[in-house]
């Protein structure tokens, strides 16, 4: 390898440098300037003593923060996604107005997500596009019922029942009935349940929305009917019967013969029976309009049961070795994420420290 001769280089550099005239007085001026009071220094010298802007340091620190943030945020987000969902009340979509079906319906009767929606032929169910439904007066009596078929993930039936119970009881409602079935058929297992929830009327539509979040809704039926007329009619009949009863009681007070007394008593008994009957009906209607009933059918996909086969010999050894290899590989993959994050974090910190140290040394110079 050809290289320049050191002696030639040294001599050439000395020759070149020695031709530069240097004033010896300059250093005296520099030292004199350096020793004077900072306030009286010349402007140019003051510039040398002034603190240099720390823009570069701030830039490096910001870059490190961006790198750490870019690494940490996706990890944190994946952590949050991996956690169980928050309570449905906090994540529920805005509840549709009372009297509307909770999903939009396409012209062919299929929801955008493929969920089939059946709407009863009777006039009780309202149209899906009734966004202009009239506001319900406090005096009106609305009766709401509904059915939701849910498909939950594997082993999710029990959890869904628990969450439905929480939903119903969180705002004055209750679980009317629960029926769960778990078993095994030929080559498959099954688990399903039916839960009837009673919730205050004002919470009915929001409950339908929250229930859908617990799994995949395969069928939703809701219906609402205005029974205010029926309610008022019953109240009016009871009032009339009570007036009649009062008149018969006055007649009874004036009756003197046994035949007359028995005849009036028979009328009073009949009236009282009718009043009680109407009062019972009124009470039932009041309950139905106070609480909305939602029946939730929960099911999980049929799980195929693989019959256990006892492995022996080479088959067992091979199976164990493959399982061990896969388990080890899974462990490595699980470990790789946090390790990579830690390595990148340490690298960023090391770079920051290295730069800070150099900046500090440079400032001391």
């Amino acid at each position: 390898m050809t290289m320049i001769d050191e002696e030639v280089l040294t001599r050439a550099l000395h020759d070149a440098a020695d031709r530069v005239d240097v004033s010896e007085d300059a250093v005296k001026h520099i030292l004199a300037e350096a020793q004077v009071d900072p306030a009286t220094r010349s402007r140019r010298v003051r510039e040398y003593f002034a603190e240099r802007p720390r823009g570069r340091t701030v830039l490096v620190a910001a870059a490190c923060l961006v790198v750490v943030g870019a690494i940490a945020l996706p990890l944190l987000r994946s952590e949050v996604v991996g956690r169980p969902r928050p309570t449905p009340a906090s994540t529920a979509a805005p509840a549709p107005p009372l009297g509307t079906v909770g999903l939009s319906v396409s012209p062919n009767g299929v929801a955008p997500n493929g969920t089939a929606i059946s709407t009863p032929a009777s006039g009780k169910s309202l149209h899906a596009t009734s966004s202009t439904a009239p506001a319900i007066a406090t005096s009106q009596k609305i009766e709401s019922t509904g059915t939701v078929n849910l498909t939950v993930h594997r082993n999710g039936v029990a959890g869904a029942i628990t969450k439905l119970t929480e939903l119903a009881t969180s705002d004055g409602g209750f679980v009317d009935s629960t029926e769960a079935r778990v078993g095994t058929q030929t080559l498959s297992s099954f688990a399903n349940a039916t839960v009837v929830l009673q919730v205050p009327q004002r919470r009915f539509t929001s409950l339908v929305g929250q229930v859908q979040l617990l799994g995949r809704a395969t069928r939703i039926i809701t219906s609402s009917s205005n029974v205010t007329g029926q309610y008022v009619n019953l109240q009016a009949r009871i009032s009339e019967l009570e007036v009649s009863l009062a008149q018969y009681e006055r007649i009874m007070a004036r009756a003197t013969t046994i035949g007359g007394i028995l005849a009036v008593q028979a009328q009073i008994d009949a009236l009282q029976s009718q009043i009680e009957q109407y009062q019972g009906a009124l009470k039932v209607l009041g309950n139905e309009t106070t609480f909305g009933a939602l029946t939730v059918n929960i099911a999980q996909p049929h799980l195929h049961v693989v019959p256990l086969r006892r492995r022996t010999g080479f088959d067992k050894a091979w199976h164990d070795s493959v399982s061990g290899f896969v388990a080890g590989f899974e462990w490595l993959v699980r470990l790789a994420g946090p390790t990579l994050f830690a390595v990148l974090l340490l690298a960023a910190l090391w770079l920051l420290g290295r730069y800070s140290r150099r900046a500090l040394l440079r400032r001391r110079m």
């Binding site: 050809t2 290289m3 320049i4 050191e6 050439a12 070149a16 530069v20 240097v22």
Partner: protein, 174 residues
């Protein structure tokens, strides 16, 4: 007069010439050394060992030169011409002045990192260890840069026209 003052006064001339070889311009060199000396005076408390005064002072000068090269690159490129060469002398290619001119020409084309170690080693006569202290790198890095710089200088167009036997020599490696 303190030790530092004396060292600054004694080393001013060589510092200016060192900066001149690094920057390629006398005015820039004087400016850099003035700034370096002011900074050295300001941070004189950080100097604890008297034995390391020389490399420490060169470190300040080199850092200031680096700073000037970084912040004033356009002006430096415009003025980096190694002034002071006489045309009459340049007309004689066999003279020492002409040779030094060619070396300076080759030195100007070196990257700053290589130029600094060449100047500190062959003009300021610092050891590789002191150069390492002055530029804040390891001695191995200094040795590597010196090697690379000498190789590049030998291959430079202005030196290849000279009698290769005088300027260069074969080095057996490995």
């Amino acid at each position: 007069m303190s030790d530092l003052e004396a060292s600054l006064a004694d080393g001013y001339r060589q510092s200016v010439r060192t900066a001149y070889l690094i920057l390629g311009n006398r005015l820039d060199a004087e400016d850099a050394v003035q700034e370096a000396f002011l900074r050295a005076w300001k941070f004189r408390d950080s100097l604890q060992k008297q034995s390391s005064l020389r490399p420490w002072l060169y470190r300040v000068v080199v850092n200031t030169c680096y700073s000037k090269l970084r912040h004033e690159t356009p002006r430096r490129e415009r003025q980096c011409e190694f002034e002071g060469l006489d045309d009459q002398v340049l007309s004689d290619p066999s003279s020492r002045v002409a040779l030094s001119h060619d070396v300076l020409d080759a030195l100007r084309d070196l990257p700053a990192d290589l130029r600094v170690v060449v100047v500190l080693r062959y003009y300021a006569d610092l050891s590789e260890r002191d150069i390492a202290l002055a530029i804040g790198r390891k001695p191995g890095t200094v040795k590597s840069r010196l090697h690379e710089a000498r190789r590049r200088l030998a291959q430079h167009r202005s030196l290849r026209t000279e009698a290769s036997g005088e300027l260069t020599r074969e080095v057996v490696t490995g």
